[in-house]
Structure formats: structure tokens, C-alpha cells
């Protein structure tokens, strides 16, 4: 290949032995005479021999590479997931290819197909919010390439899944507001199309009904995304037009967007309105007032997903194990924004 790359053949030629012997010597195979082994290893070291990865892959049908498909990369949560994946994968000798789809269905299809060509031993995916057809993932099953969904999963495909207990998190957050004395609690959430947001919303509703508070549709809004601008835009009517005393947001950025509105309206946080966010991004600690939020175990999610995937890759049972869905618990972090 590239000039200067030394192969087993080169070493074999220089020592006047066969490639087979060199290969065995490098593997410390005792069938090879000790002196030969020594000579081979010395030469390999001298030339800084590195086994050709592609050749190894072709022969073994293993790429020792995992594919990751995520909607965004400029995102603290996904970044943590990636770290978790990497940490487990590296320990097992795997590399990682990351594709971020920018929340685009088309790109997701392209990426999923690109990774299907024997390039990866398995795939970790979090579906984008614009995806409604899942055929590009069905192929993985047909080809027996292990697949793990995390966070934004799709019910349609039967495989390993690692999710967060969004229902319980939404429930806990709302209950926390209720027990702080809030009675008129608004909900500002991300795209309701996504399961995770449906569950957070259900948690909110359930907490209300358990407390005997009837649902008020005027206090609920589902945004297109989960970012700051959306939070500003969609919370405006709720914040200005009504008399809320609490607000649960589906993401920290939505929460902060809402808080900005609340402050501008002249209301005090948490005195007039208590706020709880979701995700525990670093900004939630730094913003003033600091934001109570739900800590999502992103690192753990990545780590666990990689664990499931690599286990499946290395132990491809003939009779398929029933696919597991791992549900990770979250933690409510109480900060200034909800301390009435």
C-alpha cells in the first residue's frame, strides 16, 4: 500500500522464510523455533510492522468497529452517550464510527446503509425526530448485524433497547413541583411525536391527576424542537397570559427559554413560578437561578448499550435470546429554580 508500509511478506522475504512462519512467529506460536521467532520479532520491531487492519477484517469477517447513528453531535447528552460507548468499546478493542444525521431522515437512511456494507460489526442508533419509516434498520436484522437502539427508539423493530424511564422522570419532576406547593403547572415539551416526550408528558399528567389537579390544556405546549429559541417562543403565551406557579419543561434549554420569559414578565423564580427542566446540562447549574432538573444518565446509557451490543456480537446465539429493553432510572436534582 502506501510507500513505507512493511508487510509479513517483506519480513518473510528478508529472512528467507515463508509468510506462514512469520505469521506464526508473531503470534508466539510454539511450533516455530525460538530462534526464528526471535529473529522475526526483531525485524518486525525494526521495521515497525503493524498488521494490516483491512486484511485482518476480510479474513475474520470482523471489523472490530461499531457504528453509531445519532441525530446531533452538538449535544451534551449525546456526547456523554458517546463517551460511555467509547469507554466500553475501547476496553474490548473496538473502534467507533460516528454519523450524525442532523435530525434528517434522508441522512439517517444514507448512514444506515453506508454502515451496512460490512464496515461495522454492529450498530448503535438513536432515531431522528423526522424519521417515520424504519426499513433502513430492518435490513440489519436480515443480515444478522446486531443493532441496539438507545434513547429515541422505535417500537416497530424488535431488538435490544436502552431507554430512560421518561415516564417516571416526568412524574417525579411534576410531583416535586406539586409538593413545593404549585397548583397551576405548565408543561413545555419537545416534539410529541417522539416516545420520550410522550412518556414525559404522561408522567406529568399522571402526577397531576394523582394530586387531584385537573388537566388544563391551555398550560400545555409541545414544541418542534427542544432548544432555547423554541422555549422562548412557545412558552410566551403560557407565561404571560395566565397565572402559573410552576413549569415543567422537557429539556433544560426549553426551561431556560421559559425562564427568560418569566423573568421578563417581572415574575420571580422560584417565588412566583417554580421551574424544573430535564437533562442536567451544564448550563442548568450555571444559569441564574440555577435550574432544578432531571439528571439523565447519558454515560451509563452509552456504556450499557455498548455492552449489550458487543455481547451480542461476540456471542451470536443461534436461537435468538429474547431482546432485552434496559430502562435506566433518572435522578431529580433540586436547585434554586424550584426552592419555594
Amino acid at each position: 500500500m502506501k510507500k513505507g508500509t512493511v508487510t509479513i511478506k517483506d519480513i518473510a522475504f528478508e529472512l528467507n522464510i515463508s509468510p506462514s512462519t512469520v505469521s506464526r512467529a508473531l503470534a508466539d506460536n510454539p511450533l516455530v523455533r525460538a530462534s526464528t521467532r526471535k529473529a522475526v520479532k526483531e525485524l518486525a520491531k525494526k521495521y515497525n510492522y503493524q498488521p494490516n487492519f483491512t486484511a485482518l477484517s476480510l479474513r475474520s469477517n470482523k471489523t472490530k468497529t461499531l457504528g453509531i447513528i445519532i441525530p446531533q453531535i452538538v449535544h451534551e447528552f449525546f456526547a456523554q452517550v458517546i463517551r460511555g460507548i467509547e469507554d466500553f468499546a475501547y476496553g474490548k478493542g473496538y473502534n467507533v464510527i460516528i454519523s450524525s444525521t442532523q435530525e434528517s431522515y434522508e441522512r439517517e437512511v444514507i448512514d444506515a446503509n453506508a454502515l451496512l456494507t460490512g464496515r461495522v460489526d454492529g450498530l448503535l442508533a438513536c432515531i431522528s425526530r423526522t424519521t417515520e419509516n424504519y426499513d433502513h434498520f430492518k435490513q440489519y436484522d436480515e443480515r444478522n448485524i446486531p443493532l441496539v437502539f438507545f434513547d429515541c427508539i422505535c417500537d416497530e423493530i424488535n431488538t435490544y433497547k436502552v431507554v430512560i424511564d421518561d415516564f417516571n422522570a416526568g412524574f417525579t419532576a411534576t410531583k416535586h413541583l406539586i409538593s413545593s406547593g404549585c397548583k397551576n403547572i405548565a408543561y413545555v415539551g419537545g416534539p410529541i411525536k417522539l416516545l420520550i416526550n410522550q412518556d414525559r408528558y404522561k408522567g406529568y399528567l399522571t402526577a397531576l391527576s394523582e394530586a387531584g389537579i385537573s388537566e388544563n390544556p391551555e398550560l400545555v405546549v409541545h414544541c418542534e424542537s427542544g432548544d432555547f429559541e423554541d422555549g422562548m417562543k412557545h412558552s410566551k403565551k403560557i407565561v404571560q397570559g395566565s397565572t402559573i406557579d410552576g413549569l415543567f419543561a422537557g429539556t433544560d434549554m426549553l426551561a431556560i427559554g421559559a425562564m427568560k420569559n418569566i423573568k421578563e414578565t417581572g415574575l420571580m423564580i422560584p417565588k412566583d413560578v417554580a421551574v424544573v427542566g430535564f437533562s442536567n446540562w451544564s448550563i442548568s447549574e450555571i444559569y441564574e437561578p440555577s435550574l432544578s432538573t432531571i439528571d439523565q444518565p447519558g454515560y451509563k446509557m452509552g456504556y450499557k448499550s455498548a455492552e449489550l451490543l458487543i455481547d451480542k456480537i461476540e456471542n451470536p446465539s443461534s436461537e435468538p435470546k429474547p431482546y432485552e429493553t434496559v430502562v435506566l432510572q433518572t435522578e431529580l436534582i433540586v436547585r434554586e429554580s424550584s426552592k419555594k
Copy 2:
């Protein structure tokens, strides 16, 4: 390989022709009879044939994959760089392997070596702040694998580099503070070991001296990292013990840490102390007061780096072109924190 994966051989066998013909037919080679071509393509489609990536790589000595080594992934700037790289690379049919070293020299060495085994066609790297020996990058030159450094570069290695004009950025930021009327301007920067921070600091010093302001070492601190906690910790003495009226920080997080100190001391921003950060992270816009800062063109940096790298990969000139160092300009963004 995996059950269910169909190869050229399978198609050839089923049609009773040779693999060569199938290969040619799939490539639309006119040497193959039209009817044969049609039959092959139909069968390929029926079985959803996908060429084996590894086999192609082995034969062509091209992996169509770029390696990226970065110190951190939970980092808006790097995330933008990655997006820039991906966008250019995808357009050219390349995939991307990302390794984040967590600012660890050991991990950097491991990653650089792992990517050296014929797995990638080229490498994009930003060195970690703990790295002092660069042998793991020198091998790339020896093996003729193109290498591009971005952001945190190393002088020792002669290759393509894409950097930001940190000197000019530091100069501009400080000059802005001076022209806003500041006379006692503090500097709170990241690790001075890194070239980028040396340059930002030099820019600061030069702006001072041009304005006839003499340097005051008591107003200067170099932190170990560039994060919020460091900003809080290291700015405390400067903020509380002296009478500064301006502060230039090497990162937005350092700036915000310092601002928290300033606020706690009872001083007003920008009235008493004007502040300028560096990076234009999203938090700088959201924080109150919003932070004036230097916008770093992360996306552009990634895009340009990928462009240089892929050009070098696809046009490996025998007589090496003189290596280019691309310097990208930044932009001062004035927000509330510096509007006196």
C-alpha cells in the same frame, strides 16, 4: 460472512456465469452483453447485494475513512469542527472515525497507533493539552498517511495545519475593552502551555502596550483548564483583591466563572467591569448578562481541514507540496457584558 449476506460469487453461481462477469456487469461495463447485465442487476437488486467494504478496501488500499483525534467531545467547538469535517467528507464519499482522548497523552498515543494500521486514509488531529512528545504523529509521515492538525497544533511536525488567528483575536478583544474605556484589564486564560493560549495572551499584551497601558502581572492568571470551575477558582483573587474595570477570558466558561465572582463581589457588569470571553458558545448568548465574545469558526475549520486532507489523499504528489498553514479569522461579537 454473516448469514444472509450475498456476494458476487453467489450471484455468479446462480446465473451460471463467472464472478468477473458479475463484477463487470454491476459496473455497467459495455463489454458485458446487455442481457447479461440486466439479469445480474436484477438478481443483485432482488438479493439486495451490497459490495463488501472490507474487500474493496483491501484491493484498492483505500478505506474511504478519515480518522479524527480530539481531546474532548463534550465541547461545542469540537462538535462544530466535527460537523464541518463530516459535511465535506460525506460529500466526497468518506466516513469518519472519531477518537476522543479525554485530554490524555496515553490515550492519544493509543488512538494514533490504532488508526495507523491501514484503517484510515488520513488523519485529522487536535493535540491534547497534556501531550509533550509527538512521536506517535511522526509515524504518519513515515508511512505517507496524510495528516492535518487543527486548532491545537504542534510546531515540531511539518504538515498541513488549520488554526485560528488567536493573536489577533486576543488583540481585538482587548482593544475592544480598551476602547470601551477600560484601563485595568485582567487576563484569565487557559493552559499557557498551549500555543493557542500563548497567542491569545500575546494579543492581550500587545493591545495593552499599543494603548500605552503597562502590564500588571497581578491581573494575569493562567488556569489548568478552560472550564467554569477553573474560572471561578482562579479569578477570585483578581476580582476581589483589585480594582479591575475589564476582563478578557480565554474561554467563555472561564469568563462566566469570572462573571459569577464579579457579581458575587457586588460589582456590576458591564458598568463596573466589562467582560469579553472567547469561543461564542451558546451559553454566552443565554447567560445574563449576555457575554461579548470571540466567535471561532469551528465549522469552517473542520470543513477546511477535511478539504486539505482529502485533497492530499487523492492527489499524493510525488514531490511534496510545501505544507500550508491556513489561518482563519475570528469575529468579535459585542453583547451586554462589554457595553459600558
